[in-house]
């Protein structure tokens, strides 16, 4: 089988290659991104802030952005917070030709009740650590995690009036790294830019917790052994747009990406996917695709869900799953719940998986694990539970 042949090879070879990548990207003066050198230019034309009840996902941006330029000779320039503005790019910049770009998605939240004037970040260092791994994979520069998190916290603090106040609302944070190299050879960028923009966003589920229908697709493939599925590269997203249109035309909300000869279950593109089921041995467990094969994004929400479930005494199984495993469990009524986990929706219940012309229905109990996780994580994010994952932005700056 594909996996048996490729996976052992990947195990050692891939890890050594990844180590080489990281050594490349972090050697030299590349780590010299310093928060204490941050320069601030305040916007003189503050924008009208939208009514938070009208907000959709990440289509309105705040007054400021964080920008820092890098070149291979000098490393990082000083980071700057500047008025939100267009980025003038050379038409030859290789971000526009060879997809030399990666990004992150995280959020800032407003406290509730007596903490209504406080604002919080949820595990931002996890995102910047992952961004460094993404950058290294495509030979873009890396940064010191703490310095970047502090700089982003400062940006969030400057635009904190934009953070929506209601529970379930948040301000989406988009750190981005692009190659600005202006020569057309397919080669490592000698010029790059890191920037971060902020977008106040409404809740993913405007009218309560709406389950999604997934289309399990074996025609188009998102990730594969030897590919980049575990990194948050722009390159992983381009090819997903057209299949998503075709799935929507068939009445589905999102695609459950399958890969390989045995149609391994990977993720939903915007979310990791988790199965709360009774396994073949009769044990109740939460199963999800393992990170070992490099086929799924190591989601921060995924990790948080798994940590919480382990804490709550639920058996967690990070393993190889195939679409046949999933369909069989549904047919045998062993599937308790299925949900996605990601920054946008936190957790998103799944009520149907379409595969080979059949719609397999999945239960969505109102008092189930999905709802419990959603409420618990949301309360952590809004600072209501005093959890170590959630820190006041004041603590960073």
């Amino acid at each position: 089988m594909l996996r048996n042949i490729v996976a052992p090879l990947r195990g050692a070879v891939r890890r050594s290659a990844v180590v080489q990548c990281r050594a490349y990207a972090t050697s030299g003066p590349y780590g010299n991104f310093y928060y204490d050198k941050l320069q601030i230019e305040k916007s003189k034309n503050l924008k009208q802030r939208p009514d938070e009840n009208t907000l959709s996902f990440a289509s309105v941006f705040t007054d400021h952005m964080l920008v820092c330029e890098w070149d291979a000779k000098h490393g990082w320039d000083v980071p700057k917070i500047v008025p939100y503005q267009k980025i003038p790019l050379e038409p030859s910049a290789t971000v526009l030709h060879y997809g030399l770009e990666c990004f992150e998605g995280m959020k800032a939240y407003t406290g509730q009740g007596k903490n209504k004037n406080e604002h919080y970040l949820f595990r931002p260092e996890k995102n910047i650590e992952r961004m460094n791994r993404s950058c290294a994979r495509i030979a873009l520069p890396t940064m010191k995690v703490d310095e970047v998190v502090k700089s982003i916290a400062k940006l969030v603090d400057m635009d904190k009036e934009w953070i929506p106040k209601q529970k379930g609302y948040s301000m989406y944070i988009r750190p981005t790294m692009i190659s600005t190299e202006p020569t057309l050879g397919v080669a490592p960028a000698k010029h790059a830019m890191f920037y971060t923009i902020l977008a106040p966003s409404g809740p993913y589920f405007k009218n309560g917790f709406k389950p999604v229908k997934l289309y399990a697709d074996g025609t188009y493939v998102r990730a594969f052994h030897g590919g980049t599925g575990e990194y948050k590269l722009g390159a992983n997203y381009a090819a997903t747009v057209m299949p998503a249109i075709l799935a929507a035309q068939k009445g589905y909300d999102q695609i459950l990406w399958l890969t390989g000869e045995d149609k391994q279950v990977t993720e939903v593109g915007a979310m990791n996917l988790l199965f709360y089921w009774v396994n073949k041995n009769g044990e109740k467990e939460l199963a999800t695709a393992s990170l070992d094969d490099g086929l799924v994004l190591p989601g921060v929400t995924r990790a948080s869900v798994l940590e919480l479930c382990r804490e709550w005494g639920i058996k967690v199984n990070e393993c190889k799953l195939t679409i046949d495993d999933v369909v069989t469990a549904i047919k045998e009524k062993r599937m308790i719940e299925v949900f996605g986990a990601g920054t946008a929706a936190i957790v998103s219940p799944v009520n149907c998986i379409g595969y080979q012309g059949v719609d397999y229905e999945v239960p969505t109990p109102a008092d189930g694990l999905t709802v419990k996780l959603f409420n618990h994580i949301l309360s952590i994010q809004h600072g209501e539970l005093g959890h170590e994952w959630c820190r006041n932005i004041k603590d960073y700056i």
Copy 2:
């Protein structure tokens, strides 16, 4: 085997999906890109043109660029030729986040001898046809091929003094399509931009015909069944940069990308790869990866080489090839020549393939097929053979 399971599925399903993609991208007002509406703004600050003997690949750009903007409601705006300039992009433009970009590579040539004041394009319509397929795959708009080719010819004509004069030199043409959609949802772009820039370039082989060493890599994978290997998307290039660094550290010039359980031979990233050998049945033939599996770019130079060889009575075999087939042929001394074919180098001889720690030497005869093809195609491109593939830019505008 992977191929046996996926390929039949792809055959029908994929083709129907591609048809749907194309229907999506070309319906509505998307085809309304008209050459006769072209607006021209001449540069008032012409640049100093470099000495053509100092030119490398695509690092200097000419005085003008072709630009046309598109939105989903109105289709294409009027195309414009404007002074070469930076493109101001919203920081949220999805080309910078989700790799929603594709491009082409083609060239303009100066005539030789009595035709030294003439300038030529080589099969440009093939490139724009391929660009439309790339666009459709990622839900970017398509264009009428003839209208685009005329517009590009006009741009080349305006900057024709930049086309290097010596044989083997050329002006590289880079048509590019990017999403300018300024909202962060992973969704079809409702705003896009097409542009074309020009870069005078020296010959690929500055000091004569230098053979390249390839590293056959099964660790990192460029293309896979269900992926986008057959389209010229930025997304296909991002992940190749780091493995190329690692191969260079080992002393190789380029990577021969393998894929699948049986390590199928695909292409070299910047070139298709062709094997002139005596096959297992004792027949002399030119073999190369078939286009059927969607794993290799359908190169214009590849197609031209195959057409010429068929014309010359050489047996051509577009088939599935594995690295074992290649290595066995070299060991059994059945390999006559190996060469890459692409716009940059035309054809590029290969003298070594490194695989699993062994360097397999390949002959590079001075009077072989590779050299014959190089000289013949170069003469066509410079207008010396009066071939239908080569047209004077005056004929387009």
